[in-house]
Amino acid sequence: MKQVLRWKRLIEPAVFLLVLGLALGGAFSSFAVALLNDIAIASLVALGLVVLTGVGGMTSFGQAAFVGLGAYTTAVLTTRFGVSPWWTMMASIVLTALCALLIGAVTVRLSGHYLPLGTIAWGISFFYLFGNIGWLGGHDGLSGIPPLSVGGHPLIGQQEYLVVTLTALFLAIWMTRNLLRGRIGRAVRSLRDGSLAAEAFGIHPSTMKLIIFVYAAMLSALAGWLYAHFQRSVSPGPFGIMAGTEYLLMAVLGGAGRIYGAVLGAAVVILLRDQLQSWLPYVFGAGNYETIVFGAALVLLLRTASDGLWTKIAGPERPPQFDPPTGVITASRRERPERDAMLLELRHLSKRFGGLVAVNDVSFSVPAGRIVGLIGPNGAGKSTTFNLVTGVLSPTSGDVRFRGATFKKHSPQEMARSGVGRSFQHAEIIPDMSVVENVMLGAHLRGRAGVLQAIFGLDRKEEIVLYETAWRALQRTGLEEVALNPAGTLSLGQLRLLEVARALALDPLVVLLDEPAAGLRVGEKKALAKLLRELRQEGVAVLMVEHDMDFVMSLADHLIVLDFGTQIAEGGASEIRGNPRVLEAYLGGAA
């Protein structure tokens, strides 16, 4: 198994060297090599879109503008200021990244279909900007860009240039794969179907989206730099909205979200266009037919569309591979407070929705090493109280204190940072990620590897620690047998346990569980009860909303009863059982 893996790792560099060797050896015509250069450059942009659109779910029609920005930066610096092209590569990428940071700060906050529309808008704005600034050569652009040179030898030939473009593509593929399989990549993937879970484990969605937005723009800038020194001139034409759409088509066609889909999509689109341009005029006579056929191909493709070509060839995506766990956990752990130390305190918490008072003056506390149950009939305000505590909703009045202090900003992320893990009533998992990866998401805050470490593969040690942490949480919840399956294949009961496991991976001081026993079988319930008792023993505080009375009564040290948003009783299980107000609330009237 390991041998196979190592062997597979060699395929990529081998193919890269093979193509390069064949090209340098003169196996391809210079026309074919020119096409290879085009494909390699376009693949870089499509690769950015794979990350942005395929993985991050943000559709951009405007990537061509970033290609243009990169190309124009190097064109201006080399022709006007005589800067060496190798220096301008950095300048192109950095300047584009800065622009992307500004544009992205607004763009990534756009919701739904507003986002692609926003990208169309700035895509077009850039095009007209390039075309109308006289200093940039207007619609004619800039020419006379010097070629790249190595040790005084200019890289003018198509074959020589292929060394540069293929190396860039190879490195970009390597870096993109590193980025996607690490901590940041996981966080980005978790955002595609909503951000509730991600936020509850300390992930800031707009920051993550901005990171990949800038990353995609930087790949585009690199493509633009390569394009400028390949064509030796730039003009606004190839950076318009049509080009932007073509890049998106490449990514979608190849299979959005698949790294090699980008390369395949770029190759298919460029070869198709080349063929159309060469034989359509013979069939129909002169004219702009390739645009017509191109548009028609797009429509036809979507009519029969699926997950893209790469998925058809290579099958569905496989989860990232990790070495089997060794059982040695080195992740840092929080210091446990003493038993009964005050952790979570709700003080006079109220929430109004318009005229409706959902929660009215609720106060209770959750001390370390105790299990507190929050119960009440349907519509009692349990879920609202839960959402107030977790920071999903903000209270109309009153506050929530943690270890005696209020939160600086009572957001889900801040809760996670303080050591409050939670589960959701309706499982918020990422169905196409493996179970263990879902749990690793819970350990997001226990890692600190940033984008740069991830890109250069320097996060592997930490990833192993996070993996081991997740594995340990899965063992405690009895899910290690399904750890490598996609989370979408789990049963309802297993999903509940997965939610608990993910909360444990945070190394929590407090665990908030929203109906953890709903949907569990008897055996699973017993195992969960045992786990919760263990947690209590370890000094973890547990607050749970639960409908299963036997389950909650047997576990909770303290119960809070809500009815119509008001706290009607609190105390131990036996007190609550005998409380007339509670009986009235549950059974209605004189019971």
Partner: protein, 345 residues
């Protein structure tokens, strides 16, 4: 900038805005009913103007060939889609609307063209030729993928747009045209000169918007379209065929586009690819209305028209940049104010 210039720009802005409003209303309608962001809406506008220009020169407009081609494609597409449940009724309808009607219109145009018709006759012919294209395009490109995400529909819309642009260059050539105004009269109000053509454009737009409002408030089809827009499944359960609603929306869009084209022809030079920018500006207006509200859309169109007039006075080279930059803060405002946007890409 003195007051006269301001009034002049205001007039310009209102007239542009009125035409953008027609485009924007069509976009909002189509989006609400079918979730398609109709990028090719501008092509209806440009092709209508180009058709009028060709007719005024006594030539047979390329629109005829486009209509015939689209008819055949739509027929083929619909037959392919319903091949398992093909009824004589459906076949008859396809034969009538996709083949017979285009051929009739083609003959009509062929008969009319050599007579060099005046602006009214030419405009009527152009609208007749463009009108059936809406439903045809819907059935070719969008009906088969009607349940896909907004993103996939948007990419398909781009595909249609590219194809139509290519066709436009083929049929109409690269030259720009300006059509004859309906009336060449001018008169002055205070210090500014008003052309009768602008007033006609404004009046027609107002009348159409009024008809639009009445249609949606009182007619059964209008109510059915509104129902499909607010709840597709609910509308289907109440017996409103979604397919029919889509076709109606696209037909109305094509009609509104054709009317805008006929009105805009005398006011600015139109090229085969001018539609894209006109469509996108209508789009900025539609987004101001959140792609849902018709009155807000009309207000948005006036804002876009007026800003464009202002920008072209101050920085004419950068007017497109400025108009499209306007969209981003608007988008941000819209997406912050509508937090419950259900659909992801």
């Amino acid at each position: 900038m003195d007051f006269t210039v301001f009034l002049f720009l205001l007039q310009d802005g209102i007239i542009n805005g009125a035409i953008y409003a027609l485009v924007a209303l069509a976009l909002v309608l189509v989006f609400a009913v079918t979730r398609v962001i109709l990028i090719p809406q501008g092509e209806f506008v440009a092709f209508a103007a180009l058709t009028v220009a060709a007719l005024e020169n006594g030539q047979l407009p390329g629109t005829v060939w486009l209509l015939l081609t689209l008819g055949v494609l739509a027929a083929a597409s619909e037959i392919a889609l319903y091949r398992r449940e093909l009824s004589w009724h459906r076949l008859g309808r396809i034969a009538a609307f996709d083949l017979a009607v285009p051929v009739c219109f083609a003959f009509l145009t062929w008969a009319v063209a050599p007579m060099k018709p005046g602006p009214f006759a030419a405009s009527a012919t152009a609208i007749l030729l463009i009108l059936p294209m809406g439903s045809m395009i819907y059935r070719i490109a969008f009906l088969p993928i009607a349940t896909s995400s907004v993103l996939v529909l948007l990419i398909a819309a781009f595909g249609v747009h590219f194809s139509l642009i290519g066709v436009g260059l083929l049929f109409f050539g690269p030259e720009g045209v300006g059509t004859e105004p309906f009336s060449a009269e001018t008169f002055s109000v205070g210090s500014i000169v008003v052309t009768a053509q602008s007033l006609i454009a404004l009046c027609v737009t107002l009348i159409l918007i009024l008809i639009f409002a009445v249609f949606f408030s009182y007619s059964l089809l209008g109510k059915a379209l509104r129902a499909s827009a607010s709840n597709r499944i609910g509308a289907r359960l109440s017996g409103i065929p979604v397919e029919l609603a889509g076709q109606a929306a696209f037909t109305i869009a094509a009609g509104l586009g054709a009317v805008s084209g006929v009105l805009i022809g005398p006011l600015m030079t139109i090229y085969y690819d001018s539609g894209f920018l006109i469509g996108l500006k209508g789009f900025v207006a539609a987004i101001l209305g959140g792609l849902t509200s018709y009155p807000l859309t009309v207000a948005g169109s006036l804002i876009v028209g007026f800003s464009e007039a202002m920008f072209s006075f101050w920085a004419s080279a950068f007017k497109e940049v400025l108009v499209f930059s306007l969209i981003i803060p608007i988008l941000l405002w819209r997406s912050l104010s509508t937090t419950s946007s259900g659909e992801h890409g």
